[in-house]
């Protein structure tokens, strides 16, 4: 139970960063931290005490394995998270070349 609550506190840290920070790089870092906490939560749910990694050994049948279904979902999500972060970084580079600053309030006021 402690692990679940600590995982949610990590999520809330990232969420606080998105709400209050005004620098674009810090917003991207907070988004990455939020995604990491969600992957950790999924992996925590699928854990079975005394189980081994989900690879079937033909010599030892009927061994207790860890749940493979949340691991498949998280595998997809990690790769999609990378694609999202790459696209966000591309937009940030364009904004910096055009306005010269990372601050979202100044970009709002310039309206170049």
């Amino acid at each position: 139970m402690t692990a679940f609550i600590l995982c949610f506190i990590l999520f809330l840290t990232g969420f606080f960063g998105i709400l209050t920070k005004r620098n674009l790089i810090k917003i991207a870092v907070s988004l990455s931290i939020m995604e990491i906490s969600i992957f950790l939560f999924f992996a925590l749910i699928g854990y079975v005490e005394g189980g081994v990694a989900p690879i079937v050994d033909p010599a030892v049948p009927d061994q207790l394995v860890v749940d493979p279904l949340p691991q498949a979902l998280v595998l997809t999500a990690i790769v999609i998270g990378l694609a999202t972060t790459a696209m966000l970084m591309a937009v940030i580079i364009r904004l910096y070349r055009k306005y010269g600053t990372f601050d979202i309030r100044e970009i709002n006021n310039l309206k170049g």
Partner: protein, 178 residues
Amino acid sequence: MEAAVSILIGVMIIGAFYALMAKDLLSSVIACGMVGYSLVICFLLLKAPDLAIVQIVVETITLIIMVAVVLDSSREEKYQKPDKREYIAMAAGAVFLAIMLWFFVGSVQSLDPLGEGSLRMAKYYIEGAAAKTGSANLVTGVLFDFRGYDTLGEAVVLVTAVLGVLTILRLKGKKTGQ
């Protein structure tokens, strides 16, 4: 097991706090990389080697892209004294987050404690999976045979993201248009 994972998550929370409060942007990005690499050790403790391999390479590539963006600019976050509106926003945000934490603590009591399998469907996936799909790696069998649509969707999302990045970072159109 739960003690080791909890200590690691505590280290990740400290890293995340530092990533938010740092003045230097490069330090902030490196702290984000530290959180990602601690996740790899958490995955290995939770018996998920597949996820550990993917996460370590993805974190390295993310760090390369972020450092390439940050090094090209002035590296400081300009510190202005927050005006009254910002203080109200921060206080309201903190209250909202406290309410979310209280509801979460209330709703997580109904989950089984860490270590006992709380998903019913796992039984149906594990029992005949090696014989039905023929692969010894259960995660690959689930990912490509039982849940093939998710993998197809993910490959299409990757292609779309590449299309988006190529469209955003094009300068040639402006030069030849005049």
